[in-house]
């Protein structure tokens, strides 16, 4: 589950990671109020106004501004709230901004120069252990750093038996070129960040930039956080952080029916049992000359209810010109699935586009007969190749 920057920072603060003073607001007036409060606490003269959406690249898209006065805070909040923010991660349609985070400006002048670093904590799938990945090149797109200057990205793997050790935090601070107070602050920062990651059951904490301020404090200036869905049952307070306005409405509806749906931009919808077979079905659609309109895994039980929900979600997309239902009946019987498809078809009513149903497994012949006799405008198939041929026919 993705959460907003301000929510990620709240988790960081719980575990002792230093973050800028900040408040999330939904109107320009509240933004000014928040800015005044922050000034009282932090004594700052500048503020950051940051759009809160679940996507990176907000600054480049105009979603992050530095305000030099309360008037500017108000103006920027007004500009950003309600805007459709387009970044390289939102897709061309962009995302509407409903909330802005007002923060203390942290790039203030002082004895030293502010400096930006990159740091993330995530699982190394090859070893099954967590790693801290960090770089001197902060504030930039880390993929670009990985491509151009891979030697500037460092990795520190944590042994789960003993946890993070002092030699590791020292190594990180040395590799980042720090000394004195900033060095000490960085070692504390790393320990707290790792603790936050572990204790929140996160799958990613990405802090870009980690800021060394002009007076040698180390702060998380940004926070991109993903939590492990499988562990949310242990964190009911984090589960409440879910913001469904950030998700595709069709995907939210699918979740309510226990369906796993992802919208794509093609012309052939599909409904499949099992994630791997669903991806393979999308590939088959492409090979047959169509383009998959979605990924939809109906899970282990493909019955009339789930198939009907699937039909309704897929049919919302006007670009869909055909639907392929691909069920490999293992323990679930194909004749039951076929009856479910027929019932769902009738219950939805008025389906104007061709539907191809491929049922294979237990009682597949009976299932095919049931579909063929239903009198519906439904093509039936048993083998995957037959289904592919039917898609080809329908698409052309």
């Amino acid at each position: 589950m993705n959460i907003h920057e301000y929510q990620g920072k709240a988790i960081l603060r719980q575990f002792g990671v230093a973050i800028p003073q900040g408040t999330v607001v939904k109107s320009p007036d509240k933004a000014v109020e928040a800015a005044k409060e922050i000034r009282k606490k932090a004594g700052n003269n500048t503020w950051a106004v940051k759009a809160q959406i679940h996507a990176g690249g907000r600054g480049k898209g105009g979603g992050v501004k530095i305000a030099q006065s309360l008037d500017e805070v108000k103006q920027y909040a007004k500009d950003i709230l309600g805007m459709i923010l387009v970044t390289h991660q939102t897709g061309p349609e962009g995302k509407i901004v409903n909330q802005v985070l007002i923060e203390q400006g942290v790039y203030y002048p002082g004895p030293g120069e502010p400096k930006e670093f990159y740091m993330s904590v995530l699982l190394n799938r090859d070893t099954g252990r967590n790693i801290i990945m960090y770089s001197t090149e902060g504030g930039m797109d880390i993929e670009a750093v990985a491509e151009k200057t891979p030697h500037l990205i460092f990795k520190e793997e944590i042994d789960p038996k003993v946890g993070i050790q002092p030699f590791q935090t020292r190594k990180i601070a040395f590799n980042l070129g720090l000394s004195g107070k900033a060095f000490k602050e960085m070692t504390k920062f790393v320990v707290a960040l790792y603790k936050a990651y572990l204790n929140s059951d996160a799958s990613l904490f990405e802090i870009n930039p980690v800021l060394k301020t002009s007076d040698d404090l180390i702060l998380a200036a940004d926070a991109k956080v993903k939590l492990d869905d499988n562990a949310l049952y242990r964190h009911p307070d984090y589960a409440e952080m879910r913001d469904i306005t950030e998700e595709d409405p069709a995907e939210v509806e699918a979740t309510q029916h226990d369906l796993n749906f992802i919208k794509l931009n093609g012309n052939v919808g599909c409904m499949v049992n099992g994630a791997g077979l669903a991806m393979a079905t999308m590939d088959i659609i492409k090979l047959s000359g169509g383009n998959p309109a979605n990924f939809l895994d109906v899970g282990g039980t493909a019955n009339a209810e789930t198939v009907e929900a699937g039909f309704r979600i897929i049919l919302k997309d006007p670009n869909v010109k055909a639907i392929l239902i691909n069920i490999f009946g293992g323990i679930v019987r194909c004749d039951r699935v076929a009856q479910g498809v027929v019932d769902a078809y009738n219950s939805v009513g008025d389906i104007q586009i061709p539907v191809i149903v491929r049922l294979q497994g237990t009682n597949d012949e009976e299932g095919k007969k049931l579909i063929d006799k239903s009198g519906l405008k439904v093509f039936s198939a048993i083998s995957l190749q037959e289904a592919a041929d039917l898609v080809k026919q329908v698409v052309n």
Partner: protein, 292 residues
């Protein structure tokens, strides 16, 4: 031969009396798997499906000689169940449970290191040696005893491959679903190494998907050490970048874990990669024929 499970496997069911455990254990027994009993803490001493129920895996192993365990325990308790089985000396642990927190699996992974145990899964359909033992949730009837080893990251897509192999008249030595989670006990590479050593296996089918390096690792090993033909398929050519496609493991991250990148590496390593999942069985038959 075959690998991991066979007619001599004495199978213990963890989470035996729950609804999943009950349903699939009875299917396994019906298939002919030698199920010796089950474990449900607090229900020891009872009889379920005509088999004894034990409180601990240790007791179950002591009294039945179980050497294989299949885990249907709910996600919150599954990691504990896997470690309990390993501690009790079970040699093959097959974890079906879906939805185990990744941080729990980090601990399990560490716990199993340097122990003489094969853990398959989690979030997998299990392992079947046709005609001998079905340890998992796959439909038994689509399988047929034969000489093709199948290893796959997905459930129903494995059944698809199995069905094609059966219809091509070949049959399977053993089929392993390794699971779709970010941390799994048996990688594709480990499964392929076992198949290469198994005298009953003549050809191998490897079904991958987007995300991670498992297919590339296996392919590189095959290039150096492979002695049997391997047919491959990678699901997710059309998957968009950065999205989670059902399996938590199936997120395209770096540039080398797209389907296209994996297919390229597999081809370079001499694996016969099919573009369409409908061609898996046909291709295996052709390749075997060419080799003879």
């Amino acid at each position: 031969m075959s690998i991991l499970v066979n007619k001599d496997s004495k199978v213990l069911v963890q989470g035996f009396t729950g609804s999943e455990g009950t349903f699939h254990a009875s299917q396994m027994i019906e298939y002919g798997t030698h199920v010796v009993g089950g474990v449900t803490p607090g229900k020891g001493g009872q009889t379920h499906l005509d088999k004894p129920v034990f409180n601990t895996v240790e007791e179950a192993v002591r009294k039945t000689g179980a050497n294989v365990s299949v885990v249907f325990v709910p996600p919150a308790f599954a990691a504990d169940a896997i470690m309990e089985a390993a501690d009790a000396g079970i040699k093959v642990i097959i974890t079906i449970t879906e939805g185990i927190p990744t941080s729990d699996m980090v601990k399990v992974n560490e716990y199993l290191k340097n122990k003489d145990v094969h853990m398959v899964g989690p979030n997998c359909p299990g392992v079947i040696t046709p005609g001998e033992a079905k340890v998992g949730i796959m439909p038994g009837f689509i399988h047929k005893k034969g000489s093709i080893g199948i290893v796959s990251r997905s459930g129903t897509l494995t059944y698809e491959a199995v069905d094609q192999i059966t219809k091509a008249g070949l049959g399977q030595s053993t089929c392993i679903g390794v699971g779709g989670d970010p941390i799994i006990g048996t990688s594709i590479l480990k499964a392929i190494q076992l198949f290469m050593k198994d005298p009953e296996t003549e050809g191998i089918i490897m079904i991958g998907e987007i995300g991670g390096n498992m297919e590339a690792d296996a392919a590189n090993w095959i290039r150096e050490n492979g002695t049997k033909p391997v047919v491959g398929f990678v699901a997710g050519m059309t998957a968009p970048k950065g999205r989670r496609m059902g399996h938590a493991g199936a997120i395209i991250g770096g540039k080398d874990d797209t389907a296209a990148a994996k297919i390229k590496i597999m081809q370079e390593c001499g694996i016969h990669v099919v573009e369409s999942p409908a061609d898996i069985g046909k291709r295996m038959k052709e390749v075997l024929y060419q080799n003879k």
